[in-house]
Homo-oligomer: 158 residues x 2
DNA sequence: TTTACTGCAAACTATTTGCAACTCA
DNA sequence: TGAGTTGCAAATAGTTTGCAGTAAA
């Protein structure tokens, strides 16, 4: 997984620097959908002189290569996820937690979209919104109709 | 369509100001996925004193109500789309064009995601990436393998 | 050796906020 | 009437960039 991604860098004649290796390793081994700031802080012991700009540049590079994808969860910054196996995300509209979901396979949607739109399709990104189990408990929500009495900034809750 | 949305504002006891009506009308009648700046400029003749902050605030309000959704197409700002009927988007990774697609219905994915994740699901957002017909022509791309020789910042193109 | 990369700080820019004036209900 | 809304300007904050020094290949 890591080796493959490093090979991918080499294939593109992109230098494999310690910073890139360490950031990539971090992403491969952490499935917590970190923000730039989180990555920066978590790596400061390993790479004391690491620059925030380098984290930005590196993530952008990985995104362009398709190794990593960008996610938004409603808070300020952008979050990142190693995309070794196709999947999509469910985002909690209350706490911002992001959960990976590996089913169903949505590649058929790409085919359908290509047919209808005439685009040459290269990929997709699916985000499902809702309330995570913890927030459901904390807020006393057990069914969709309960959402109506909440003052949350929940989209789609009419 | 417009009337329904205005009724929705009233239901939420949100004031129907001229700014809100005009911005809403603009969104209902324009399917060009405008940015904040585009909306602001297009409305300056109708509302000479309109503030950019008001456009931001109004759009945020509409998004929170689920009337409008936010989109990213790779350029700096955020784009907006009146969401009167569920659909998703195909985004051109070269020129940033956004195209609406109304099939297939993806509500089954919400059900599946809810089952797997335990979330109480309230909505979803699907984005498909690719090259629009115009850019395919302009770039001389006719099949997926042609993407490899391009120097575009296309994700997923390995 | 050489060219790409890093780190730092400054610059940039999309978005938010404070507040006084205003206005819809 | 008065609570919610607008407009303006200033503030904020995430991200990018310029450049000199550094290091991977």
């Amino acid at each position: 997984m890591l080796t493959q991604s490093i090979q991918q860098l080499k294939n593109h004649k992109i230098r494999v620097t310690p910073q890139r290796q360490i950031i990539l390793t971090y992403l491969v081994t952490h499935h917590n959908h970190p923000s730039v700031e989180t990555i920066y802080q978590d790596l400061e012991t390993q790479l004391p002189n690491l620059s925030l700009a380098t984290v930005y540049n590196t993530l952008k590079l990985f995104v362009d290569l398709g190794i990593v994808i960008e996610l938004q969860n409603g808070d300020a910054g952008t979050h990142y996820d190693f995309f070794g196996r196709p999947h999509y995300h469910v985002v909690c509209e209350n706490c911002g937690k992001i959960t990976d979901v590996f089913e169903p396979d949505l590649s058929s949607v790409e085919v359908k979209a290509a047919e209808i739109s005439g685009y040459l399709v290269t990929g997709h990104n699916m985000e499902v919104y809702g309330l995570c189990p913890d927030c459901q408990k904390a807020l006393g929500v057990t069914q969709p109709s309960d959402l109506k009495r909440l003052n949350l900034n929940l989209s789609h809750s009419e």
